[in-house]
Each structure stands twice: as C-alpha cells, then as structure tokens.
C-alpha cells in the first residue's frame, strides 16, 4: 500500500517519474542491529508476528536454536545461531537477526517485472506491494541476501517491510520497540552510523580488534546495518555475505540487455518495412507460370 506520508523513490518496472516532491527532512532511515548485544531471546520475531499478523506453522525441533529454521512468508525475521570457535579456543555464540537488509540498490526491485509491486520509499525502505505481485519469483532471483519468500497460499512474495506503516507515522519498527537489550535501534542512517562507531570503539577496547559496521557498499549500502565483532569475517554469522552485490547475471538480464534487445527487435521490423518499401514484393509473374508450364511440357 502506498503510504500518504512516504514518497516513493523507486518503483519496479516503471520508467516514468515516481512521486518525488516530498523529501524526508531527516534523510534516510536505518535499523542498526548490534550483534554483540543480542541475547537470542526472539522477542523481535514475536513482535514481528504480532504487529504484522503473521502466524507460521508450528515446526519441529531440528536440534538447533533456530526456530523457525528459515525465513518464510510468515516469518519475516529469524534469529540465526552460529557457534564459532576462536583461534584462541574460545567458543562464541554469534546470533544474527536475519531478514531483509533494505538495500539502497535493491536487486529485488531491479528484477521485478510488475509495475509497482516493489517500491523503495524516499527514506530508503524497500516494500513489497503484494496486490501488484504476479508471483514470478524474480525478486528471489535478484536478491543478494536470499530474503524474499513466495507464499504457497497466494503465490505472492513476502518479506520484512521495516514496519513501513509504523515508520510512516513516526514510530520505530516493532522489533526495535520490543528488543529488551537495545540490540536493535532505529533512527536516521546518519545517526545510526554514528552510534555504531561508538559501539565499535567500545568493542575494540574490549579486545575485538576487527569489530566494525556491516553496511555493504556493493548494494549501495543497506538500511539495515549490523555491528559485528568480526566485521572482517561476516560469513561467520550464518553466512552473511562478505561482499554482496546484485548478481552480474541479473544486471545483464535486467540492465543492458533490455534496451539493446528491444532496439534490435524494433530494427529487424523496421528493416523489413523499409526493404519492402524500397524493393517491393517478390512476385510471381505470368511469365514464371508460363516458364514452368513450358519446362514441364518440354521434358
């Protein structure tokens, strides 16, 4: 749903300008997830279910804390638990709240063929408008983080909205509101980046020399950022990609190939048209018919 107070910066499969008069005076927003403060309580998952009216199926225990085991159309955020043995032999429990990263350059939006099914608001939030979704799954193909899920019920794509409906009326996302340790914070991207620097300085003083902010440049930065103790090895955190970017295959398919192939097809039709206009039809004359007759009768 379009939100009155949020203008749209980018709209899927749309070449005309999007409404862009209103600009958020505070700039882009961001959610900052401080992995070092997370205790894995899953309150954020519950808050997400509550606010968005989502109820996943009760699954089965597969022997790990991850529950549910993966993102689904009903679970837009999932805590992923990773056990990491440091070179010093210590065990670290790295818990990452997984979900949509709200890329500044969203691969899902780039891949989406349906006008307006995916939008990016002026504040940076990437939102799916399911009423326009045709269920093709191209967003899944475009996403560098493996986030969108297609519903088996309505064949439409779902993911975290960053509570765009709450943000539009000046509230923080539900997961942020509920987090008991303050591991999830929300604000302008600028303030969140500054705040992260203070957290990183603190972590470095506690011996985490490689602490850092995860705001990957390959997708233009993200509107969900992580503070990581081991920012040099993001893959430790249940496979968080080190240098995510829109796949070159998707860039080719939904980028340069589009105008080039359209132009080539139009050219083929135009060449045909003008060839006809210049050369005229290849007709069979009466003479051809007579020659054919003659050839047979002379045989």
């Amino acid at each position: 749903m379009a939100l009155q107070s949020l203008d749209i910066k980018r709209r899927s499969a749309t070449t005309s300008p999007t409404p862009s008069v209103r600009e958020p005076s505070v700039g882009a927003v961001a959610k900052l997830i401080d992995v070092s403060k997370c205790i894995g309580c899953k309150a954020c998952q519950t808050a997400c279910m509550e606010w968005n009216d989502l109820r996943d199926e009760v699954g089965t225990n597969v022997g790990v804390y991850d529950n549910p085991a993966d993102l689904t159309e009903h679970s837009w955020t999932v805590m992923r638990f990773a056990e990491y043995e440091t070179p010093q032999g210590d065990l670290e429990w790295l818990i990452r709240k997984d979900g949509c990263m709200h890329c500044e350059d969203p691969g899902c939006l780039k891949a989406c063929p349906s006008p307006g099914a995916i939008v990016q608001y002026a504040n940076g939030i990437v939102d799916f408008h399911q009423e326009h979704c045709i269920g093709c799954g191209y967003c899944v193909t475009g996403c560098p983080f493996n986030v969108p899920r297609i519903s088996k019920k309505d064949h439409k794509a779902y993911k975290c909205t960053l509570c765009s409906d709450r943000v539009a009326v000046g509230q923080e996302p539900a997961c942020v509101k509920t987090c008991p340790t303050g591991a999830i914070e929300f604000g302008t991207k600028e303030v969140m980046t500054e705040h992260a620097q203070a957290r990183i300085a603190d972590l470095k003083s506690r011996g985490y020399a490689n602490a850092g902010l995860y705001d990957p440049a390959g997708v233009g930065g993200t509107h969900v950022m992580y503070v990581l103790h081991h920012a040099d090895q993001p893959t430790l955190y249940s496979g968080l990609p080190k240098d995510p970017q829109i796949s070159p295959a998707v860039s080719l398919w939904k980028g340069v190939a589009k105008p080039l192939s359209m132009a080539a097809m139009a050219l083929a039709a135009l060449v045909g048209f003008f060839h006809y206009m210049r050369v005229g039809p290849a007709e069979t004359s009466e003479e051809d018919e007579r020659n054919a007759e003659k050839e047979v009768s002379h045989e």
Partner: protein, 211 residues
C-alpha cells in the same frame, strides 16, 4: 493450359502439417507477447492479453510446454528437408542478390533456401534453450538453486530474443515473397512460384508429371 485457366499448383504442406504449424505459431505469439511483458515495462500491458500479470505468469509456462511439444513434432517432420548443402553457402554469399530480388543470378533452390534452413536451425536451438531454461524458471513445479535460476533467466531472455527476431524475419519473408502464405493456409503453391523461388524442388516435384 489456356490463358484463362488458373495456374496449376503443387502440394507443399499437408493439412496435418498446416495445423501443426499454426498451433506452434499461435502459442509462439502468446508466449512472445506475455514474455515481453515480463521482460520490459514498456510491454507490461501485453500481459492483459492473458488476463493480467498474475494469469500471464501462471499460463505462460503451460503454453510453453504445448509450444515445445508441437514445435518438436514440426521440426521432426521438416528436418529432412533442411540438410545443409554446398549450394546453400553460395546462395548466402550472394545475399545482396536475394535482397535485391535478382533470383535469376542465384543457385537453384530446393524445397528450402539457405535462410530458411538457417532459420530452422536457429529456432530448434532457441526452442531447446527456451524449454530448458523455462523449466529452471518455473517455480510452480521446480525448485533450483538461485545461481541456476539466474543463469536460466539470462538464457531464457537471450533465446527469446533470438527466436522473436528470427520470427520477425520469417513473417517478413512470408509477406515479401508473394504466393508463400497460401502454402501454409491452403497447402499448395503455384507452379510459377515454385519455378521462380524453388526451382530444384519444382523439377523434383513435376518429374514425370507429363508422362
């Protein structure tokens, strides 16, 4: 033959071949239009031909299966006429003569000319590419890794581009060379048409006709 009599004709496609061709043609047009809708925003409105984006997404792959099966049948039927010959290369070398309608300078053509044969090969390859990559993209029934699906998307778009461009050439050739369309609508061509455009085939067909 008296001057007023209608030209004599030669059979070119049987009723069964014609039906096969038109099922392929109709499904191809539906696939191309709905496929272009998913490919470029400028063509999204074409998805309404199949009942909107959602229905176009649902129906496109099923139509694709019908297309591929019928195309395979047609290709098998016509394959034996498409063997490449030395004179085909010579014909292609003289392509400016083809375009300028100077057929008398060209080597005699059999049932199909070199461009028709090339079209046959290109369409066979792109149809196979479209079918295989289409399976990769068909989330309703298949689930492949994201890397495979990305590759499938590129291959599908590339093959579709090649196929659509080839069909533009195919349709234009049918419009340009008068007397060709009746081969696919009525099944026959006039002697004069065959003599002018496919003389070797003409001779083969009329051999012994007057004996």
């Amino acid at each position: 033959m008296s001057e007023t009599a209608r030209p004599r004709t030669l059979p070119r496609y049987s009723a069964s071949e014609r039906s096969n061709h038109w099922v392929v043609a109709i499904t191809f047009i539906l696939l191309a239009l709905s496929g272009l809708a998913f490919y470029h925003p400028a063509f999204f409105f074409l998805s309404h031909l199949l009942g909107g984006g959602y229905w176009a997404r649902v129906l496109h792959p099923y139509i694709g299966v019908v297309f591929f099966v019928c195309f395979a049948l047609l290709a098998l039927r016509l394959a034996r006429h498409n063997a490449w010959e030395a004179k085909d290369a010579q014909w292609l070398k003289q392509f400016p003569d083809v375009l300028a309608n100077r057929e008398e300078r060209l080597p005699e053509v059999g049932r199909y000319n070199a461009l028709q044969k090339l079209l046959f090969y290109v369409l066979v390859l792109s149809a196979v590419g479209l079918f295989l990559s289409g399976i990769g993209l068909w989330r309703e029934w298949f689930a492949f890794s994201v890397g495979t699906v990305r590759l499938a998307a590129v291959v599908h778009a590339l093959c579709a581009f090649v196929a659509i461009t080839s069909i533009i050439v195919h349709i234009y050739a049918a419009i340009w060379v008068k007397g060709s369309v009746r081969a696919m609508t009525r099944g026959d061509v006039t002697w004069g048409w065959a003599w002018r455009h496919h003389r070797a085939w003409f001779r083969q067909m009329v051999k012994g006709a007057n004996k």
